[in-house]
Amino acid sequence: MAEVLENIAIYHSKSLILKSKKGDEHAYGKLVGLWFKRIYNFSLKYFADHDLAMEVTQQTFITVYQKIDRLKDVDTFKCWLYKIALNYCREEDRRRKRKKWYSIFVSEDARMVESNYGQPEQEYQKKEKEELIADVLRRLPDEQKTVIIMKEFEGLKFREIAEALSISENTAKSRLYYGLKALKKLLENSELKN
């Protein structure tokens, strides 16, 4: 129920964007509140790292705050937002590769914050599965991974993905198709290993 309400709020954030464009910080605060979780989860799936995801999310909203007055079409806010987030993701990824720094899917802090309610076995299996999917997702080429996250987890339309990535809709579909195929193979290999 909460998720449905959240989605409704996101789709009705137009007035908040307009107010934010005029410099209304209170409205911008609300706008961030609506989109923070989405951008965080997008970055989290991109990196499989809580700290990096938080870093990218904060950088994204700082940039949005600085540049929202230059946004011409309010309807393109969503694509614009994901485009900024993706740019920061790629930038951080390059920096991380330079540092040769790797991390696990969920940081120790995040593990501790997560509750242990329910059956421990189920919790463990769920976590195992999440880690497996995050791992195979991480191993996909960047362009396929990005489209899968945007489509599968963020629910963007093909048109929106194409706009955010500055590619054609057909290219977006093609990347998604081959991405899903590659993901299937990786999952099968991982399951075989286990």
Partner: protein, 277 residues
């Protein structure tokens, strides 16, 4: 890399991005094609797998936006909206940490007429310390050298007396030989014995002299080194005790803080639970 048209339609169908008419048409195609059905099943299965990766709940950072909160990230009064939070907070946090550590360890720095002082624990007053002036140190060294010289001279005098006695004995024996020379002829054997005897005695004298001086010097240096070692050991022990005390104090402070934090968290948790109930 491109995909065939039917796969594009398949993706539109899979993600429900078709108009009702397009959907109907595609479903007809689908029912007549095993390949399409197989593709659809495969892609659906992958999507189901992906469904296992759920969104994580995340709290928007406390100091983010809004009129009351934005000031920590942005200087909203400036037209440029320059980002200030990162360097400022980093510097401020470093300063706070340094001050806290300094406070916990009782670190102090002072500059006075007596000189510059920096260290843990309470400040040491200059009058409490007994410093030796350069002249006093020189005087102590001179005294020590004089004492050592006196002892050496005394021993040398003693040795000299011993040698004199031995020389006298030699002279006496020489005289007896001379006397004997006058009374009876000296044989080669007598002369050989006399020189062997003299050589042995000389060697003994030299040996004793060298032994005496080397023992003296050895003892003197050993005493000096022992005193020096004792002084540094004492100094090290004092430093270690001081550091240990400071660390213990820090540890105690941390334990108190941890307990306070735990209590605060427990209190918050209880309050939240009560409100929920």
């Amino acid at each position: 890399m491109d995909i065939q048209d039917f796969n594009k339609e398949l993706l539109d169908y899979l993600y429900d991005e078709m108009t009702p008419n397009e959907k109907k048409e595609f479903e007809q195609k689908l029912s007549g094609s095993e390949t399409l059905q197989h593709e659809l099943r495969e892609l659906t299965a992958v999507r189901e797998e992906l469904d296992g990766l759920k969104d994580k709940e995340v709290m928007e950072p406390f100091s983010t936006w809004g009129k009351t909160r934005s000031s920590r990230w942005f200087d909203s009064n400036q037209k440029t909206r320059k980002i200030i939070f990162r360097p400022v907070t980093a510097v401020a946090a470093s300063l706070v940490i340094l001050m806290l550590v300094g406070y916990l360890t009782n670190f102090s720095i002072s500059v006075s007429g007596d000189g510059f002082q920096a260290g843990f624990s309470s400040q040491v007053k200059a009058e409490d310390q007994t410093f030796l002036s350069e002249a006093e140190v020189q005087s102590l060294v001179n005294q020590e050298v004089q004492r050592s010289n006196k002892a050496l001279i005394a021993r040398l005098t003693q040795a000299e007396e011993g040698y004199n006695q031995k020389i006298n004995m030699l002279e006496t024996s020489l005289k007896s030989v001379e006397n004997r020379d006058r009374n009876a002829p000296v044989t080669n054997e007598d002369l050989q014995k006399f020189f062997v005897n003299a050589e042995n005695k000389n060697a003994e004298i030299m040996k004793e002299y060298l032994k005496l001086t080397s023992t003296q010097q050895h003892e003197y240096f050993r005493t000096m080194l022992t005193q020096f070692n004792d002084f540094y050991r004492q100094q090290r022990e004092d430093d270690l005790t001081l550091i240990q005390t400071s660390l213990l104090e820090m540890q105690q402070n941390q334990s108190v803080q941890k307990q306070e934090t735990d209590q605060a968290i427990t209190s918050l948790y209880t309050t939240v639970n009560q409100r929920r109930n």
